[in-house]
């Protein structure tokens, strides 16, 4: 998967782009770097994205990628967790991170003045390259995580999300969520091995934006990646199975609302239909206060506060999701309205007017996607991790504009097959189906 991503990136020379002057290079150890010089605020944002997401969690040890990531800041080199937190805090630096299905990340926001920068970067370097995974801290963090998971497992929205992942992906890693048992099963040696195998420069993307020079950026990128472990080839991840017949699942819960999720596995990053689906979904359920689902479910009938649809492109086909919550006694009614709205959209597509409005919003609002360092940092990470071309942002508006009615209809036909949709209802466990 990553080999392909790297290959695609290699096809695009490091041009300075018109919208955002992104500078791109590789560190000596092979990490890909994406940098934007932004001098107006004396600060620096760094994000290290790693091919070390939850999709590599072994069966029965779901949660390993997340726990490995969370433990990086809990001790490194000779520093214990207090000493590390102290070093960041004393210079006003903020660090963060996490692990999704595809990507693990470590982020830092720091002042760009020399002493602050040095302290923050050297601490980040320790975290990435010499984490100590202290056993006592791990034991405590596992206890806390288990309690958090138990709490989450009692919440209807969370129960629905887990059942949804399971229905769409089954045994594929995208369908396997951590549980109290899988977190309890994590041993220190699992974390050490996961870090050693996956936190490696050749599978890392360093994104940076801030008030530092290109030379400083190059030095920082070298320091952060030079001593990362050698790593190993990523474990094989199975293909996402094509679903022909979706599932319907009702789960009883004492909540006052039913939480409803409808969807199926849809597209991976780089799918040729991605822009057609983005534009089409804006009309269906992506466009804030103006979508069809919003209009039918909320505006016309007052059936929900929140109703939406979206595609989550991933390394492998990520889900298309429709979601809403409604008072439990009207679950059947709401479900019917959503299905009718979707069916009608799939049969007839958007109107010309809706298509034009969708494009107007997406293109007209493009500047809002990159109007802060934080937002640009996220795009740099995304471009690097998913191997998107350097001019991805430059071409974004034109690719939205070029979407035709036919493309939208065909793309939805290909990716949102009604028979393959699964429906999860948590709340009213006896709500009628079709």
């Amino acid at each position: 998967m990553l080999a392909i991503a790297t290959f695609v990136a290699a096809l695009w020379p490091s041009l300075a782009s018109a919208v955002l002057p992104i500078e791109h290079w590789k560190t000596a150890a092979g990490a890909r770097v994406y940098f934007v010089h932004a001098p107006s605020i004396p600060m620096l944002d760094i994000s290290i994205g790693l091919d070390a997401g939850g999709r590599y969690d072994p069966v029965g040890k779901e949660g390993l990628a997340s726990m490995t990531n969370a433990m990086l800041a809990k001790g490194a080199g000779d520093l214990d967790e207090s000493a590390m937190a102290e070093r960041f805090a004393m210079v006003g630096a903020e660090h963060g991170g996490g692990a999704g299905d595809d990507r693990a990340s470590v982020t830092l926001r720091t002042l760009s003045s020399a002493a602050e920068l040095e302290t923050a970067v050297s601490t980040l370097q320790l975290m990435l390259t010499r984490p100590s995974f202290p056993q006592t801290v791990l034991t405590r963090e596992k206890e806390r995580a288990v309690q958090g998971l138990r709490e989450a497992q009692a919440k209807p929205g969370n129960i629905a999300r887990r059942a949804f992942n399971q229905a769409l992906y089954g045994a594929h890693p995208y369908g396997r969520d951590s549980t109290p048992a899988t977190v309890a099963a994590l041993g220190r040696e699992d974390l050490v091995a996961f870090w050693r195998d996956n936190y490696t420069a050749s599978r890392a993307v360093v994104a940076m934006i801030g008030a530092i020079t290109r030379e400083q950026a190059a030095q920082i990128a070298e320091r952060l990646t030079a001593d990362l472990p050698a790593g190993s080839a990523p474990p094989a991840v199975p293909e996402v199975a094509r679903i022909d017949q979706g599932r319907e699942q009702r789960i009883e819960h004492p909540s006052t609302q039913s939480h409803i999720l409808i969807g199926l596995p849809a597209i991976a990053w780089g799918d040729p239909d991605q822009f057609a689906l983005l534009v089409g979904n804006y009309v269906l359920g992506g466009g804030g206060f103006v979508s069809r689902l919003y209009d039918e479910v909320r505006e016309k009938r007052g059936l929900a506060y929140s109703v939406y649809s979206y595609f989550s492109p991933s390394l492998q086909p990520g889900p298309f999701t429709i979601g809403l919550q409604t008072a439990r006694e009207q679950t059947g009614t709401a479900l019917q309205v959503v299905r009718d709205t979707l069916d009608h959209f799939l049969k007839a597509g958007p109107t010309e007017q809706e298509l034009a409005a969708a494009k107007a919003n997406l293109v007209g609002g493009f500047a809002l996607r990159i109007d802060s360092n934080r937002k640009i940092l996220d795009y740099l990470s995304l471009i690097g991790f998913y191997g998107l071309p350097l001019d991805y942002l430059d071409r974004w508006p034109e690719r939205v504009s070029a979407v035709t009615m036919q493309q939208v209809q065909e793309a939805f036909k290909r990716h949102v097959r009604p028979q393959a949709l699964s429906t999860i209802v948590v709340g009213d466990g006896k709500a009628p189906g079709k």
């Binding site: 210079v91 006003g92 630096a93 405590r140 309690q147 819960h253 609302q257 103006v290 929140s306 409005a357």
Partner: protein
């Protein structure tokens, strides 16, 4: 680059302090003839703008039996005016590529749009139109009130932590309207009529009760001119009298135990403490702010260090205090017991940390650490045009000036360890405390999590 040295770092931190206040964003303000204040924050990094209209009308201005009306009116503001049809406001903002939403709090109701700067004039026209010309029909109301009830179910009824907070506020305050939830009590929503929203709109949606903040790539003079031509046309009106509704003194600890579906027990405590009354007034609010920071600003905060990592009494512990508000405020402490510990243990441990500070004080290094973060966060805030607009509006709506942010930071910087010890000793006696404990109710056994049924569609 130099190796890490504490003394060097501290010297630089002081240098940064001076720098940080020197580079605060360029702001301008003007009072329109009708009494509406306009604030412009210039940020020319990107060709975008955040446009916000705030009304000094939140749930704190509501009366019994009509709780939630401020928030219901917020929803209805999207339902059209004499010239703009229902939903048309949002369609027009969307057509401009804009993002928009609105929010209601105890203190205010705010509306915002973020969009390309070329559309500022149009959005000012739209927003000023609904300040004066809103159409409130029984039909739109009847549908939207259902949406608001769904919102209450989603965010409060089915959220144990939200129920705990709702109960804390209702118990800690008896006379002050801060006691009622912003979304309103469910029965008040059920009995609300469109007339209630009309009355609210008539009472509070006047330019002399409103604030406009425009932040982004704009020229202040142009914004003031546009404001004159749009908002400036709306006549000012006499506002209803706001009764002080001063909360009577608390006469002893208040304890509640509430049951809700949840997995883990938890405890939430609120102490009645002063808020910030004047920037150049008492040090107490600033000292309380820093006390809360020493307890819980970062991973080395006292609560996490002692109660979560040290004694392992809690799995989560937190402190909270917001000194800028229109009404009375609480200093919050919260926690979830670790395995084998009880909410009583957590309460004792959290209060023990305050007692320890009252007795032994805090370290110079602790205070230096949190001050460094305040200073850095002033720099980081400049990355968000929207955040800058929110901060300015929040200060103004509570009776301060948006220009006070730097002065407030200066006051915070001057607080010393003894002042923190002093407020820890003076404000945390049991008689000013309200405690709410969550008694979790397990899910019924018949929750059939494993059972899936295959059905065909079509």
């Amino acid at each position: 680059m130099h190796p890490f040295r504490i003394p060097g770092s501290f010297a630089l931190m002081l240098a940064t302090l001076v720098f940080a206040s020197a580079v605060s964003a360029q702001t301008s303000e003007r009072l329109l003839a009708n009494g509406m204040k306009v604030i412009v924050i210039e940020d020319h990094r990107a060709p975008t703008v955040a446009h916000m209209a705030w009304y000094r009308a939140g749930s704190i201005d509501e009366v019994n039996g009509k709780t939630g009306v401020a928030h219901v009116l917020e929803h209805l503001m999207f339902k059209g005016t004499k010239t703009v049809g229902p939903g048309e406001f949002s369609r027009q903002v969307a057509a401009m590529g804009g993002r928009e939403n609105a929010f209601t709090s105890r203190d205010y109701t705010g509306y915002y749009q973020q969009l390309h700067k070329s559309h500022l004039a149009k959005v000012m026209e739209l927003e000023s139109d609904r300040m004066a010309n809103l159409e409130l029909t029984a039909e739109e109301f009847s549908r939207e009130i259902k949406v608001v009830m769904e919102e209450r179910r989603l965010r409060t009824e089915d959220q144990a932590n939200a129920l705990v907070y709702e109960q804390l506020m209702a118990a800690a305050f008896i006379a002050s309207p801060v006691r009622s939830p912003v979304v309103g009590w469910m029965n008040d929503l059920q009995s609300m009529r469109v007339e209630d929203t009309r009355e609210w709109y008539r009472n509070w949606y006047a330019p002399n009760n409103a604030l406009l903040v425009v932040a982004g790539d704009v020229d202040p003079k142009q914004v003031f001119d546009l404001a004159d031509k749009t908002y400036g046309r709306v006549p000012s009106r006499a506002l209803p009298a706001r009764k002080p509704q001063i909360e009577p003194a608390q006469r002893g600890v208040r304890r509640l135990r509430i049951k809700a579906p949840a997995e883990n027990p938890s405890v939430l405590m609120g102490f009645r403490v002063p808020k910030l009354e004047a920037v150049d007034g008492s040090d107490d609010a600033y000292a309380l702010e820093l006390l809360s920071a020493v307890l819980d600003l970062d991973e080395n905060g006292r609560l996490t260090r002692s109660v979560v990592r040290g004694s392992r009494v809690a799995n989560r512990a937190g402190a909270g205090y917001d000194m800028v508000a229109r009404g009375p405020v609480l200093f919050l402490l919260s926690g979830t017991p670790a395995q084998g510990k009880s909410t009583e243990d957590v309460e004792a441990a959290l209060r023990g940390e305050i007692t320890r500070i009252a007795r032994d004080g805090v370290g110079d290094d602790e205070l230096r650490r949190v001050k460094a973060q305040y200073v850095a966060s002033r720099v980081y805030k400049r990355d968000s045009v929207f955040g800058q607009a929110m901060e300015a509006a929040g200060l103004e709506i509570s009776g301060f000036s948006h220009t006070d942010a730097d002065a407030i930071l200066e006051r915070i910087r001057k607080i010393n360890v003894r002042q923190i010890q002093d407020v820890a000793g003076r404000y945390f006696d049991e008689d000013s405390l309200t405690v709410v404990t969550l008694d979790p109710q397990p899910l019924p056994k018949d929750a059939n999590a494993g059972k899936a049924t295959l059905r065909t569609r079509h």
